[in-house]
């Protein structure tokens, strides 16, 4: 069926539209590798301008951390009783962002969701960059980042003690470092066949050597693919419980304490749902920007975006349920501190943070019940941003609101971020965007070998019904 036939029968396209638009396998290689090669598909000027802006913000991060280390932790607004403030809020926020990457690459893989193939590579990269940003905060929160190796059980002479393995804080060290390492392995394993494609397409000697080394001599042998697919399946199987464990363990940092507002058993699933919610929103923001700046409309289609919006609606509703459940349990527990905590959360000095969180996380995503909203680019861009604002406030509410009212009124306090706090957080956003932009330009952003598999499947099932390839 040709292009005209599709226009004659639009209902057919609409019910089950193909996922990707490419003439053949070679066209697909051209569309994706072309961005990396940069000779046929020229990198737009708007890309370099954006990169310049984000790189400048990254310099701000370096400046703030230098100032912090050279002056002392007092330049942050942390105080008593709010010892965990802005920095730990940012840590939990960034770790949460990462979760969508692993969910897309591992859990959707196990569920055989073919639509994930266009977005999994960039989501995995986003995971890595988000975890890097997350790691900065607890590292500098320790006050002496040059002693960071004390966090790990390495034999040392300057510290005649070992870590306290009964504490969830050390569990967190293991969870986050394992998460980063496994995500990196998963991401790089997925990249290898595509790096081999780039090696084989490269014209310049230097590129051939660089991609040749990076692809480890991959040649696409059937034996290789058999072991590779086994490895990929095992990694997906390992990452699925891993991603659920990471934010569960982060939530243990809070849940095992005796602070009202923290000491609840709902925290692990609540944190995981929130993490996936915020992560999907962040993938959405990045993909919309990449799709627009690098012209990826043929490969990231409305179907991908709509599916992601459905997940945002579901996980947003989980989060809404968790909020309601917390209030109910606070009332049902009969504990005066717990009841006060939740009354104070909604109507106390930080009421604005709590209501920003409820609005952005619970109320706004309900628009996605409507199909027109799920398929509107401006709406999804705005909701992806408000969701991340809301999820940042969630962590702020949990940490700061719960700490600022202690059991005894004499130890009550109030936290205000300093300019250093704010610039450091802005700096991590700059670092995150810079790394993502570099990745999108210099590595294949879409998994070519996986999308080719989807293309083969669609060639069989939609014989000739493929959507027209959009001209650039």
């Amino acid at each position: 069926m040709s292009e005209t036939a599709i226009t004659q029968n639009p209902a057919l396209m609409d019910v089950n539209p193909p996922l990707v638009r490419a003439k053949d396998y070679h066209d697909l290689s051209d569309q994706i590798s072309g961005i990396v090669e940069g000779d046929v598909i020229k990198t737009p000027t708007k890309y370099w301008i954006t990169l310049g802006v984000t790189a400048s913000i990254t310099v701000l991060l370096a400046a703030m951390l230098t100032y912090l280390v050279s002056t002392g932790i007092g330049v942050w607004g942390n105080n008593r009783p709010i010892g965990w403030a802005w920095d730990i809020t940012n840590f939990v926020f960034w770790i949460g962002i990462g979760h969508a990457g692993t969910l897309i690459s591992a859990i959707l893989f196990l569920f055989r969701q073919k639509w994930r193939t266009s977005i999994n590579r960039s989501a995995e990269a986003m995971t890595l960059f988000a975890v890097m940003c997350a790691g900065i905060f607890p590292l500098f929160h320790t006050g002496r980042p040059w002693r960071a190796y004390w966090l790990f059980p390495v034999p040392n002479t300057d510290l005649t003690m070992w870590q306290n393995f009964r504490s969830p804080l050390i569990w967190d060290v293991f969870a986050v470092s394992t998460y980063f390492t496994v995500s990196l392995l998963f991401w790089y394993t997925g990249l290898i066949p595509d790096l081999a494609t780039l090696r084989d397409r490269a014209i310049s000697k230097i590129k051939q050597i660089v991609f040749g080394i990076m692809s480890f001599g991959w040649r696409g042998s059937a034996r290789h693919w058999r072991n590779y697919e086994a490895a990929y399946l095992i990694l997906a199987g390992l990452s699925t419980p891993l991603v659920l464990s990471v934010h569960s363990i982060v939530s243990f940092d809070f849940a095992t304490s005796v602070i009202p507002g923290w000491h609840t058993t709902i925290f692990p699933p609540y944190f995981v749902a929130g993490a996936i919610f915020s992560g999907f929103a962040c993938v959405m923001t990045l993909l919309l920007i990449a799709r627009w700046t690098l012209n990826l409309q043929n490969l990231i289609t409305m179907k991908h975006l709509e599916n992601m919006n459905k997940i945002i609606l579901v996980t947003g509703s989980f989060v809404g349920y968790a909020y309601a459940c917390e209030f109910f349990i606070a009332w049902y527990s009969g504990n005066i501190y717990e009841r006060f905590q939740f009354w104070n959360r909604a109507f106390g000095p930080y009421w604005w943070a709590a209501w920003s969180m409820y609005t952005c996380n619970v109320f706004i995503p309900q628009l996605y019940w409507f199909r027109t909203m799920r398929r509107s680019l401006p709406v999804m861009f705005i909701i992806s941003i408000t969701t991340n604002i809301g999820m940042w406030f969630e962590r702020f509410v949990i940490i700061v609101t719960s700490l600022h009212r202690d059991f005894v009124p004499s130890s009550w306090g109030y936290f205000r971020p300093t300019w250093v706090d704010m610039c450091t957080f802005a700096g991590t956003i700059g670092l995150f965007l810079t790394l993502f932009l570099l990745f999108a330009r210099f590595l294949p952003m879409i998994a070519m070998s996986e999308v080719k598999g989807v293309l083969m499947y669609e060639k069989q099932h939609f014989k000739g019904q493929q959507a027209p390839v959009e001209a650039k």
Partner: protein
């Protein structure tokens, strides 16, 4: 490579230093993954055993068609998974109950319950390394050179071509007949590749 019977091929080979053992195999090229699978199955039915395929993405069915055994990776990973769990338990026991006997919060020096999160994480960490490094080891990677690179169009195997290889160490291997067989099952082009 045209093996003309009138020429003294043996003498030429000897002079140039290329013997039969220097042939890597015969490669046939296909445009479509399904054709590749059908061709692979037919070639195997002809009695060839040392076959390989090179494809830009995993083509399902090709492994069974040309007789590639199941991956043994799972066993390697299970072994390292157990090592990961054991490492975590031993580490926590050694640090907490042997090296540094410090009672904190009235909790025991060692107990299985508080080892669960770290044991879980290290199990995953060890297994992930085992699956990636094991995959490379089973594939014989990384490597700088492979005789299949002598094929003119080898670079298309990571783009849009599907290659079927009859390797020279196959007991039934003869460059000429192997090439004819590949042609007969529908290969668009066939080439004898030196090793």
């Amino acid at each position: 490579m045209n093996l003309d019977a009138k020429l003294d091929v043996g003498a030429i080979r000897e002079k140039l230093g290329i013997g039969d053992d220097k042939v890597y195999g015969v490669i046939g090229e296909f445009d479509d993954p399904h054709e590749l699978v059908h061709a692979g199955r037919k070639i195997r039915e002809m009695g060839y055993t040392k076959l390989d395929a090179m494809t830009p993405f995993p083509v399902h069915g090709i492994d069974d068609a040309i007789g590639i055994p199941y991956s043994k990776l799972g066993w390697i990973v299970i072994f390292f998974a157990v090592c990961g769990t054991a490492t975590a338990e031993l580490l926590i026991w050694y640090c907490g109950a042997i090296q540094d006997k410090f009672v904190i919060g009235g909790k025991p020096l060692f107990d299985f319950s508080f080892t669960i999160p770290i044991a879980f994480e290290l199990t995953i960490l060890f297994s992930a390394f085992a699956s990636v490094i094991g995959m490379f080891a089973l594939n014989g990677l990384p490597r700088l050179y492979h005789p299949s690179m002598n094929y003119r169009m080898a670079h298309k195997a990571t783009d849009d071509r599907f290659l079927l290889v009859i390797e020279a160490d196959d007991p039934k291997f003869n460059p000429q007949t192997a090439a004819e067989h590949l042609k007969s099952v529908g290969a668009a082009t066939v080439e004898v590749v030196e090793g």
